[in-house]
Symmetry: C2
């Protein structure tokens, strides 16, 4: 049975940077499940009409169509119970907090730091859509929103709990990576793929964790093409 | 067998405001375990010499002596397995993140907001110790550190992930409160007992959660004496 993941791509089809798609790719690897990723662009809404959805990730698993990264992780646990990602009960409730922590505390700080790099990594056909939708969300131009100094200071503060956690454990889920790790690490993959910005000092336990995460599942994260690998794309 | 919790008190013996002691009191109630709390003050190091420790909480459970709030929650789960607080494996690893989130993201923002109220709530004999140790930690005087405007803005930002979480669930641990809830709520009890500052708007899902938490275990939190209940203490 075919398993297909619609996966955001950028200026080059090999450049895959969606933090939400990275959660799913890592979750599939955690379960040992193969997947064919299908490159998709922001403005290609027609390609997702079959899913009645307008954003990726969209996972097609045989006859099942699942949207939203967290819902896909839940689906994977329900369908393939071996090697749980989120678990059940209090474990699942706690995992959900990492989703919000990544999206509401880390992502805005990273966005502020890398947004012009991100804009540059997006396919030229997608840029008007991206600019218009994000400028409406931020209430100002991308150029006005962009502030690596403010973004990095905000990220440094937001990382404090993660730093405390990773002083005591190898992974967010303890001795081995799990759903909480993927929910957060997806955003580090996002930044890594589109930007060469240094988000965390190499003396930070978060840095060491990110290095460990890059090596998981045969180096899935580390091997992923970055904007710096695309000839002529990084200005 | 006697079960005794050494519990920080303030200007009045009934005033118990340590966030770490509150974690333990709520955890004991969650397990349905009785406890005798024994009032203790910062400078009464001699009273804890038996535990080879200089801070509360200290739990004496028959022949066992356990220090540190998180270690006490772990001890309670190991000794009284019914109604798990933290659980095991990934569930426990994820619970630990709430400890760091509360201590590193929420507590500093609350401290900045309430520190002069806190100072006022501390027993006069403890104030020189408190001032000297905190001023060394902050690198400035209590009065210079005190800034409700900055503290509340910092708290508002730090609460963003909690707000997202509580938009979707009644408690941090899901449908019923558990270890993650107590690890965080202890700090709301701390602020509540020493200060009348409004930390969260009543339209905030965090506010509704705090109200639910105050009602748990027969209103243990809601019934706790506050500085505003101590005649003449709140200036």
């Amino acid at each position: 049975m075919a398993r297909i993941l619609y996966d955001l791509c950028g200026i080059d089809e090999r450049l895959r940077f969606s933090p939400y798609c990275w959660r799913v790719r890592l979750a599939l690897a955690h379960k040992g499940l193969d997947v064919e990723t299908r490159p998709w662009r922001f403005t290609d809404k027609a390609a997702l009409a079959f899913a009645d959805h307008d954003r990726v990730p969209v996972l097609v698993d045989g006859d099942e169509v699942v949207t939203d990264s967290y819902a896909i992780l839940r689906y994977l646990d329900a369908t393939y119970p071996r090697a749980p990602l989120l678990g059940e009960g209090a474990a699942e409730a706690r995992a959900r907090f990492f989703k919000h922590y990544a999206e509401r505390a880390l992502a805005p700080a990273m966005m502020r730091t890398i947004i012009m790099d991100l804009f540059n990594a997006i396919h030229p056909d997608d840029r008007p859509y991206f600019r218009e939708s994000r400028e409406r969300r931020f209430g100002r131009t991308l150029e006005e929103f962009h502030s690596p100094a403010k973004g990095l200071a905000q990220l440094d503060a937001a990382l404090a709990p993660l730093r405390g956690h990773l002083d005591e454990a190898e992974f967010l889920d303890g001795a081995a990576p799990g759903g909480a790790d993927y929910l957060v690490f997806g955003f580090f993959m996002w930044a890594r793929c589109v930007s060469s910005a240094d988000l965390v000092s190499n003396a930070d336990p978060v840095h060491a964790w990110r290095e460990r995460m890059l090596d998981q599942h045969g180096g899935l994260g580390r091997e992923a093409p970055r904007i710096t690998d695309i000839a002529g794309a990084y200005r």
